[in-house]
Symmetry: C2
Subunit: 322 residues, 2 copies
């Protein structure tokens, strides 16, 4: 393994010597390694030990693999938890070498059984289309839909605001009925990994259904959220305001104004895509420039074809070219 042996192939990775791990992406299962490698330039020069970057990314399952995954590949599983119809396991694929440590597993398994139609729909591939929601389409299509949603859909949220539900989860409460809010951890957060921090901020004001209702008069509420959320995360988690993304969703999953709070390094979340997410900072800035911006603007966003609003929006021409 001398670095200047002429017999060394320019890319014989068995000669790779690790210096350090530069980065990793837990979402795409990729590690970025820095090391050295004996290398001779293609013009036939001397072989020298050069700095080398090695990026290793796990491959996706092939179609053939996906079809035979359980029948032919899964050799061993172990349970890691259960809640209602959800079961979590980990598993090993194919044969694994005898020197593999006992705590090394190949895949994470989630089983939903018995699975309902709603579960199946949730995990089935969805076609999306870009929607251009003009103020007129909001008034004719979206607002009537929102107004006819059963109030029972947000009972869980009113329970929290009333101090009945999830009291043990509340991180902070400013009880002011106009400018106050409650801050709680989102269920997507494990409450330990700071870089995946995800909190939810629920306004006490029950009259604001979404972005579309916001006016300049709500600026004290919005700037209060911006100021106090940063103070809470700074004191509780050592994460100051300039390491947070605060944003709204449109369409939201429920029509009571709430703000998503995530760590700036948490870049792989689906819900931060432009069009779906609106930064609290941008919303504040727009309202400062124009009181009725959200009543006058056209909101453009991607929507799945099984969203309850999709058919009516398409019918109203929101998916057509402008």
């Amino acid at each position: 393994m001398t670095s200047d042996s002429a017999a060394v192939n320019a890319l014989d990775l068995s000669h790779f010597s690790l210096t350090r791990v530069l980065n990793e992406d837990t979402h795409s299962k990729t590690v970025y390694l820095l090391g050295t490698l004996p290398y001779s330039a293609s013009n036939g020069g001397e072989t020298r030990t050069e700095p080398a970057l090695l990026i290793v990314e796990r491959l996706h399952f092939t179609t053939a693999e996906a079809n035979q995954l359980v029948a032919k590949r899964l050799t061993e599983t172990g349970s890691t938890g259960q809640n209602d119809v959800y079961h979590w396991l980990r598993g090993r694929l194919r044969g694994y070498a005898s020197d593999a440590a006992d705590d090394e597993w190949d895949v994470k398994l989630t089983v939903v059984v018995p699975a309902t139609e709603a579960h199946i729909r949730k995990y089935t591939r969805q076609e999306r289309r870009m929607i251009r929601e003009t103020p007129d389409i909001y008034q004719r299509v979206v607002l009537p839909y929102v107004e006819h949603l059963p109030k029972s859909r947000i009972h869980w949220l009113y329970n929290i605001l009333d101090g009945i539900g999830e009291r043990e989860h509340v991180l902070f409460n400013d009880p002011d009925p106009a400018h106050g809010f409650m801050l709680l951890p989102d269920s997507k957060w494990d409450k330990r990994t700071m870089e995946s921090l995800y909190l939810l901020c629920l306004c006490h004001d029950r009259t604001i259904r979404s972005l579309r209702d916001l006016r300049a008069k709500h600026l004290p509420l919005l700037t209060n959220i911006r100021r106090q959320v940063g103070q809470v995360t700074s004191a509780k988690y050592g994460v100051p305001a300039n390491q947070l993304r605060l944003f709204f969703h449109y369409q939201p999953s429920y029509y009571h104004l709430h703000v998503h709070v995530t760590h700036i390094q948490n870049t792989q979340l689906g819900g931060m895509t432009v069009g779906q997410a609106y930064l609290l900072d941008d919303v504040i800035d727009m309202l400062q420039l124009m009181d009725d911006y959200f009543q006058k603007c056209t909101l453009t966003y991607a929507l799945g074809q099984d969203h309850p609003l999709y058919a009516a929006l398409e019918e109203a021409g929101a998916t057509a070219d402008p």
Copy 2:
């Protein structure tokens, strides 16, 4: 394997019978399978064959694994390509069962050798901070930086616009000096998979450096791009306008106005995060509402601490609480 055998464990996955693949996520290496599973409710009822969702996600490398990946785990590699200092290979980890097909590989490997400091910086974990770029900070910090960038940085782009470089790649050209643009495939696209379609639209107007220069007078250019790009992708790829995301970046990687064009199903791209990406539709709508919106607004975005503008922005107070 009868479905009502009392001996069947509620979650013995060896009894999972696949109905169909519901979805897959090639980025996170996850497959969503629908099937059936013998299942007895926890209250001890009869075992019945129930619909079951099975989600299988490849696990990330453990820290111990990352450190020993090449030394202990990589058993076999095969080259798939090379370009300059970039080498691509695929590899197998640990022992694989003798019945594994020859075309099944575990990891994709990218080697950069010899790696420069710039390569290493690019792949090293970066700390980010939220930047609030007020109009004043733009004038004092960003604009002088942009004006002093060497023109040579965008020679490659002027070569394309002048018809000298990459002529074979140009998909469409509207030569109008004020409202025209060129459309090309982005290097990130494989030119085959429609769902990862990624095109780049370069304006002929050389006076517009970024979003910050846009005024209502540019609306004919912007609406021309919106109209014609959809027509080209529809005719060439069967992808109509309502299946496209058209957006700008801020900060952009070069200061000559360009529009990113991606497929709506391509949801895992890093560059579409709110704050970094601005939908062409939103920009058009804002300029229709307010001629000087982009001169008056505060732009909020996450910036890596090794961005050439970072130190000056921090010095100017752009990372501080408002």
